[in-house]
């Protein structure tokens, strides 16, 4: 009986493939010889199989949808929190913002939906020499690459009034602050502008290939070229 107890103690691991070859052989040999243990083993094995047969619990029909909605709501909540962090970022990064004085600024006209980038400027890094002879071709302003699908479409519902926005772009291509230059400045418009800018992806301004802070003036629902 003692030997059987020992054998049966190993049944669980035997069942789960956790034993080494020698141990497995021992048990297997014993099972061939001992009817009681063989019956015990068989019951254990079929108990496990009975469980495996159960399969998944049928899920409620709307479960998948509910989960997706919950995650979307959470995503929206975290975006709003991100926007609240802007004022802090603005105070910390505005700093000295050197613009190349000489020849105006590199201008780019980009039409994306109804967004037009009117003007872009770049900030010369403090380490570089300020030189009036620096050819503008060596420097580029931030380039709007795309507006990723965030909330809302590319258009801003401003009625007939276009909105012109000055967006400050850091050296990683992220908008870190903005100013509405013209157009409505009510809360709804600001909120839509913020949403759009949150998901704007820029290629940062470059000064001799080095990413620098820059500025882009964007016009929504209107076409203008300046520069």
């Amino acid at each position: 009986m003692n030997g059987c107890d020992e054998m049966q103690a190993g049944f669980t691991e035997y069942l789960d493939g956790q034993l080494n070859g020698r141990e497995m052989q021992e048990i297997s040999a014993h099972l061939n010889a001992c009817r009681d243990c063989a019956r015990e083993w068989d019951t254990l094995r079929s108990t496990k199989m009975a469980l495996a047969e159960l399969g998944p619990v049928p899920e409620p029909q709307d479960l998948l949808l509910r989960i997706r909605v919950a995650v979307s709501q959470e995503r929206a909540r975290s975006r709003r929190k991100w926007a609240e962090g802007w004022t802090l970022v603005w105070k910390n990064t505005v700093g000295p913002f050197l613009l190349q004085a000489s020849a105006g600024f590199a201008s780019a006209v980009l039409l994306l939906g109804t967004v037009v980038v009117l003007v872009t400027m770049f900030a010369q890094p403090e380490s570089a020499q300020a030189s009036k002879d620096e050819p503008l071709g060596m420097a580029t302003g931030p380039r709007l690459l795309y507006l990723s699908s965030g909330a809302g479409a590319n258009d801003i519902e401003t009625g007939s009034q276009p909105v012109v926005v000055e967006a400050y772009v850091n050296d990683e291509g992220e908008v870190y602050d903005y100013r509405i230059l013209s157009g409505p400045t009510d809360a709804a418009t600001r909120s839509e502008v913020e949403n759009l800018l949150l998901f704007s992806v820029f290629e940062p301004a470059k000064f001799f290939g080095q990413p620098v802070r820059g500025l882009a003036v964007l016009s929504f629902s209107g076409v203008s070229v300046r520069g």
Binding site: E53, L63, I67, R68, V71
Partner: protein
Amino acid sequence: MGNIASALALRSEEAAPIAELRSGSEEAFAWLIERYHQPIYSLLARTLQDRSEAADLTQEVFVKVFRGIGGFHGESSLRTWIYRIALREASNQRRWWMRHKQQEVPIEQEIAAGHAGNRVVLGDTLVDPGESPFEMAAHAETKARVEWALNQVPEPYRTTLILRDIEGFVYEEVAEMQGVNLGTVKSRLVRGRAMLKALLTAPAAEARSLALAG
């Protein structure tokens, strides 16, 4: 041997989705939800008393996964991490239940909503001592009986049985998910299987008293 191979396979399969999830990709999250919502719901439905609670909790698990993915650095597999969150939520829920809803849950309470008129009690079915539990389980109506028996197995044994025998995770992963060592997993399996077997093979009256005692 097989364990290491499958663990490696899981890691490489998860590498790209993890990167995309951390960058907030909506498609990656849709994939995650699609892939794990059913097994997580299944686990929660069996470990909690209430199916609608399980649905709510499943939702909560994915919200927590979304919130926490930024802090996930691959210390475990993605799958283990998700299950850990689910198990933690379930255990919090059970603790809340015990604190606030002290009333007894009667043994005959139906767990499966679909079996309302179909109360399967062990003594009612013809128990042929020569027929193994597996043969009995092969019959569709006895699935309800196995489900009932599983529900009578107390925690943490029940969850251990679910993770090992229904989900098929290896000992190491079960240990990681439950936050215990391998020895504990093994002993929980031994005891859980013994309880389940006793519930399935004993005649009705004995089964009821076993369940009450457990």
